[in-house]
Symmetry: C2
Subunit: 121 residues, 2 copies
């Protein structure tokens, strides 16, 4: 299938396969997608650091990718994952832990200071 | 909350509030987001048509937005919606109806030829 990378990148939604919680949105380039497919673990491309990263490479909070879905226009991907630990570097299960009004809807599940040497992920 | 629009746009995941199925990924600009918040119905910005659209304006397949979540970096949004009809213009409930290997994992729930005068949505 022809994947429509724009400026070399495609947005990727990671969803917990069991709870169906949306965990995060990140980006992949062709190499990150290929690494994800060949290793079975989620890889992304960091726009700020301009490099590929394996999710959990520092924290241990890896994502085993059970299935990759493509949308109708082939310009967005969905990784169905088994999340080890939590997805968000803030200590929340999901990066979507607050409403647009600023209300936190989920608590911390780990202490990020104990997990990350730096919080750049 | 300061929303981080990049080139004026932010990616938006729409998720079915009840089934937790990820329905689609689209983009919003500030005006589309404001329309979503004030009307309670999902609005997006079409990059190809360069204009705001209300989801379902042609098909009737509107999305009532129950809650808007923001991710940790405030550069992605999640609309939790009640979907009327189906999200995808192809006739599938979700735009993510096939795997990256090309296998369709969900059937049609409506006939797009009967719903869309044109299939541009």
């Amino acid at each position: 299938m022809d994947i429509d990378f724009k400026n070399g990148l495609i947005p990727v939604i990671a969803q917990d396969r069991r709870t169906r919680e949306v965990l995060m949105l990140a980006y992949a380039n062709a190499e990150a997608l290929e690494l994800t497919r060949t290793t079975g673990y989620a890889h992304y491309y960091s726009r700020s650091r301009q490099k590929i990263w394996k999710k959990g490479e520092e924290s241990g909070h890896i994502q085993r990718v059970c299935r990759i879905l493509v949308d109708c226009d082939a310009d967005a991907l969905l990784y169905e994952v088994e999340q080890t630990g939590a997805a968000c570097h803030t200590g929340h299960t999901s990066c979507f832990f607050r409403t647009i009004e600023g209300e936190e809807i989920a608590g911390l599940v780990f202490d990020p200071e104990k997990v990350y040497a730096n919080k750049d992920e």
